[in-house]
C-alpha cells in the first residue's frame, strides 16, 4: 500500500477481482496419490496399511482358502472319513512320483507289499516298483454325503481303481491320515471360530460395562476378572467337562466345548476393552451423545466400540490360536471331543503315545496344519493390529 496517498473513498477504490478462471491446484499441486491419501476413508487407510505387512496378507489368503475348503471337505479328501483298509494298517506315507523308468507318466504312487513280521509283530511295507497306481483327478471314489445331506462320490483326486493313495500314511485301523486331517479341519476351525465369538461377546459386554461406568462397577468387574484369571485353567476345564452330561449328543458336546473354550480368554479382551473405554469415555462426542439423551447401551455400542473395533478384531484373531490349542488340550485330558468325531485335537491325542513317536511318526502330521493355522492367525492378527490405527 502506498503510504503517501490516503485511502481513497469507496467510490474511487477499484475493487480488483481477477477474471481469470481459478485453478484450485495453482497454489499447491497435489499428485494423484496424495489426493487419494487425503480423501481416503478410515477403512481404506487401514487396508493400505494392512497390505504393507506382506506376511499378514498371505496368511489372510491362506486362512480364507482353508475356511472355504471346510465347505467341501468331502470333495477334497481322497477317502471317506471312516473308510478302513484292513490290509494297510499303519502304512507309511506313499511318495508321489512323476517319472517311472525314465519316462514321464504323470503323478502316481507305487503299490506297497505287505508282510507281517511275526517276531516283532510289526507290519512291514515295501514299495513295489513294478506296479503303478496313477492318481486320478475329478474322479469317482468313496461315497459320501455332503454335509450329511447330498449324496455324491465325486472327489478332487482319488487313488487308482484297485490301488491306494495314502499320501500321509494310515492309522491303526487303516484309515487315510490325509483325509482325516481334511475332515478334522472342519471341526477344529469352526469350533475355534465359535469359541472366539463367545469370547467376543463376553469380553465386550463386561469390558464395556466396566469401562463405561467406572467406579464401583469397575472395581467389582475387575475383581471378578482377576479371580477368573487366577484360577488354574486345567482344573477349571476338568470340572466343567465333568458337569457336561454324558448323554448329550456329539453336537451338543461340541457346543458345550465351544462355550468352555470361550470362557478361556474373555478376560484379556475385557481388560483391553475396559482400558480403551476408560480413555475414550472422556471424548467430546461421548459427552455430546449423553447430552442428547442417548442410553449408555447406545453410546457404548454405537459410538465407542466402533472406534476401536479394529483393535478388537486384532485381539480376537490372536485368541483363535488359544482356542485351537485349548481344544487339543481338552482332547488330551479326554474331556473334549471324542471319537467318532474327528478334529485335529482328537487326531493328535491318538498320536500321543510312545508307539507313535518311535514307530509310526507320520501319525503326528496333524500337528503341521495346527501350527500353520496358528502361525497364519498370528501374522494376520499382527497385520490387523498394525493396520488398526492407521493414523499413527
Amino acid at each position: 500500500m502506498n503510504q503517501e496517498k490516503t485511502p481513497p473513498s469507496e467510490a474511487e477504490t477499484e475493487h480488483f477481482v481477477s477474471q481469470a478462471p481459478f485453478d484450485l491446484q495453482s497454489i499447491e499441486q497435489l499428485s494423484e496419490d496424495q489426493e487419494k491419501l487425503y480423501l481416503a476413508s478410515q477403512w481404506t487407510l487401514m487396508w493400505w496399511k494392512f497390505k504393507r505387512h506382506r506376511l499378514a496378507v498371505v496368511s489372510g489368503l491362506f486362512l480364507i482358502a482353508l475356511y472355504l475348503s471346510v465347505l467341501i471337505s468331502e470333495f477334497l479328501a481322497p477317502y471317506n472319513l471312516h473308510s478302513r483298509h484292513v490290509d494297510h494298517i499303519y502304512a507309511p506315507p506313499q511318495a508321489i512320483h512323476l517319472f517311472h523308468d525314465g519316462s514321464f507318466v504323470g503323478p502316481f504312487v507305487y503299490a506297497t507289499n505287505f508282510k507281517l513280521d511275526m517276531t516283532n509283530l510289526s507290519r512291514v511295507y515295501t514299495e513295489n516298483r513294478t506296479k503303478i497306481y496313477p492318481i486320478r483327478f475329478l474322479c469317482r471314489g468313496d461315497d459320501y454325503k455332503l454335509w450329511g445331506q447330498f449324496e455324491s462320490n465325486l472327489h478332487l483326486f482319488c487313488p487308482a481303481p484297485n490301488g491306494t493313495l495314502f499320501l500321509l500314511g494310515t492309522d491303526r485301523l487303516g484309515r487315510d491320515v490325509l483325509s482325516r486331517i481334511i475332515y478334522g479341519a472342519r471341526i477344529s476351525l469352526t469350533i475355534s471360530l465359535l469359541g472366539v465369538t463367545v469370547t467376543f461377546l463376553l469380553g465386550i459386554t463386561f469390558g464395556g460395562i466396566a469401562g463405561y461406568y467406572g467406579g464401583v462397577v469397575d472395581l467389582i468387574i475387575q475383581r471378578i476378572i482377576e479371580v477368573i484369571q487366577s484360577l488354574p485353567t486345567i482344573p477349571l476345564w476338568l470340572v466343567l467337562a465333568a458337569i457336561m452330561p454324558v448323554t448329550w449328543s456329539p453336537l451338543l458336546v461340541y457346543f458345550g466345548i465351544t462355550i468352555i473354550l470361550g470362557l478361556l480368554d474373555w478376560t484379556g479382551l475385557a481388560r483391553a476393552v475396559r482400558s480403551k473405554l476408560l480413555s475414550l469415555r472422556e471424548e467430546d462426542y461421548v459427552l455430546a451423545a449423553q447430552l442428547m439423551g442417548a442410553t449408555p447401551r447406545r453410546i457404548i455400542g454405537r459410538h465407542l466400540i466402533p472406534g476401536f473395533m479394529s483393535h478388537l478384531i486384532a485381539s480376537a484373531t490372536i485368541s483363535i490360536p488359544t482356542m485351537i490349542l485349548g481344544e487339543t488340550a481338552l482332547s488330551f485330558l479326554k474331556l473334549g471331543l471324542r471319537p467318532p468325531i474327528t478334529s485335529w485335537g482328537v487326531l493328535l491325542v491318538e498320536a500321543q503315545n510312545i508307539n507313535v513317536v518311535v514307530l509310526y511318526p507320520w501319525l503326528m502330521l496333524p500337528v503341521v496344519p495346527v501350527i500353520m493355522v496358528i502361525i497364519a492367525f498370528s501374522f494376520l492378527g499382527d497385520g490387523l493390529r498394525d493396520a488398526a490405527d492407521p493414523y499413527k
Binding site: 469397575d218 479371580v227 487366577s230 465333568a242 487339543t328 493328535l348 513317536v357 503326528m364 502361525i375
Partner: protein, 332 residues
C-alpha cells in the same frame, strides 16, 4: 507408595476368598462324590463293595454334611494350617504335598526366567528391525513354539532326550534321589530333567511376550523424544537403551502378571505328560476322583501363586512407574 501396596494387599484378601468359594463350588458341582468314584474303581477291579463300610466311610470323611458346613470347616482349617484330609492317599493333605510345592515354584520361576532370557533380545531385535527378514524369521520360530501342542512336544523331546542324552524318562529327577535330602548331585539331576518342561512350557509364553514387547517398544520408538534425541545426534544404541528400553522394562514386569497364570496352568498339562512330581498331576488325579480337600487345597495353592505373582508384578510396576500409583477412579 506404602498406601498403594497396602491397598493392593487388602484387595487381595477378598479376591482369595472369592477364589476359594469358586474352587469349592467347582469341586462340588460334578455329580457324585469321592466315594462314588471309589466304589466304581473297586467294581472295575472286580472287588466286592460292602455298603456298610461305605456308609461308615461317608460319615468318617464328613461327606454327609451339607456343602456350606464343609466349606466353612475347610476355610477355618486352612487358616490354621489344616488343609483337610485326602481320601485317596489316606492322610492329611499337608503330608501329601511334600516336595511338590517347592518343585512347582521352581519350575514356574525357571520358566519365567527362560522366557525373559529368550524374549528380551528377540523382542528388541524385532522392534528395531521391523519388517525385516530377521524380524519375520525370529517371530516365526517363536510362533512355532507357541503353536505346537505342549503334550506332543513334551513327549517327543522326552524321547529324544532319552535317545541322545540318556536322560531317564519322566520325573523331575533320577529315581535314586527321590526321597533323599537336597544335595549337589540331586540338584544336577533335577536340572538335567528340568530343561524339557521349561522349554516346552516356556516356548508357549515366549512368542506372546516377544510380540508384546515388540509392539510396546515400537510404540515407544515412535515417540517424539526419541526423534529429538536422534536429531540431536545421540548414538542410535544409546537412544535405544537409555529411554525406550527402560519404559519397556516396565512392561516386562507388568507382563509377569499376564504370563504367570498361563505358566502355572501350562505346567499342569506338561507335568502330566512328563510325570513330574509337581502339583499338576496330583491335582488332576484328585479332581478326577473327586478327592475334595486335596483338589481344593492344591487349586487354592495354584491360584494363590497366581495372585501373588500378579501382586508382585503390580507392586514392582508401581515402584517403577508413578503414573500407576496415582491412577484415579472415574470422573462421571
Amino acid at each position: 507408595m506404602l498406601h498403594y501396596i497396602f491397598k493392593r494387599i487388602l484387595i487381595m484378601i477378598p479376591t482369595l476368598l472369592l477364589i476359594s468359594m469358586l474352587v469349592f463350588l467347582l469341586i462340588e458341582l460334578p455329580p457324585g462324590d469321592y466315594l462314588e468314584s471309589y466304589i466304581a474303581e473297586l467294581q472295575m477291579q472286580g472287588e466286592t463293595v460292602d455298603p456298610q463300610h461305605i456308609e461308615f466311610l461317608r460319615k468318617e470323611y464328613g461327606l454327609d454334611k451339607p456343602v456350606l458346613e464343609r466349606y466353612v470347616l475347610w476355610i477355618y482349617g486352612m487358616t490354621h494350617g489344616d488343609f483337610g484330609y485326602s481320601f485317596e492317599y489316606q492322610m492329611p493333605v499337608s503330608r501329601v504335598v511334600g516336595d511338590r510345592m517347592f518343585l512347582t515354584t521352581l519350575l514356574s520361576v525357571s520358566t519365567i526366567i527362560f522366557t525373559w532370557l529368550v524374549a528380551f533380545p528377540i523382542g528388541i531385535y524385532s522392534a528395531t528391525h521391523q519388517y525385516s527378514w530377521g524380524d519375520y524369521g525370529l517371530t516365526f520360530i517363536g510362533l512355532i513354539g507357541l503353536a505346537t501342542p505342549n503334550f506332543l512336544l513334551a513327549l517327543v523331546l522326552l524321547y529324544l532326550a532319552n535317545i541322545w542324552f540318556g536322560t531317564s524318562i519322566g520325573g523331575i529327577m533320577d529315581p535314586e534321589f527321590l526321597n533323599q535330602p537336597m544335595s549337589w548331585a540331586k540338584l544336577k539331576s533335577i536340572l538335567s530333567h528340568l530343561w524339557i518342561p521349561v522349554i516346552v512350557i516356556g516356548t508357549s509364553g515366549t512368542a506372546g511376550m516377544i510380540r508384546r514387547l515388540r509392539a510396546n517398544l515400537l510404540d515407544e520408538l515412535q515417540k517424539q523424544y526419541v526423534i529429538t534425541a536422534r536429531a540431536k545426534g545421540l548414538h542410535p544404541f544409546r537412544s535405544l537403551m537409555k529411554y525406550p528400553l527402560r519404559m519397556s522394562l516396565n512392561f516386562f514386569i507388568a507382563d509377569i502378571g499376564n504370563i504367570f497364570p498361563n505358566i502355572i496352568s501350562g505346567s499342569v498339562l506338561v507335568a502330566i505328560v512328563l510325570s513330574l512330581e509337581t502339583t499338576g498331576p496330583v491335582l488332576v488325579a484328585a479332581l478326577q476322583s473327586q478327592d475334595m480337600y486335596l483338589a481344593g487345597s492344591f487349586m487354592m495353592f495354584l491360584a494363590t501363586l497366581s495372585v501373588v505373582g500378579v501382586l508382585v508384578s503390580d507392586i514392582a510396576l508401581a515402584i517403577l512407574d508413578p503414573r500407576i500409583r496415582l491412577q484415579g477412579g472415574s470422573t462421571k
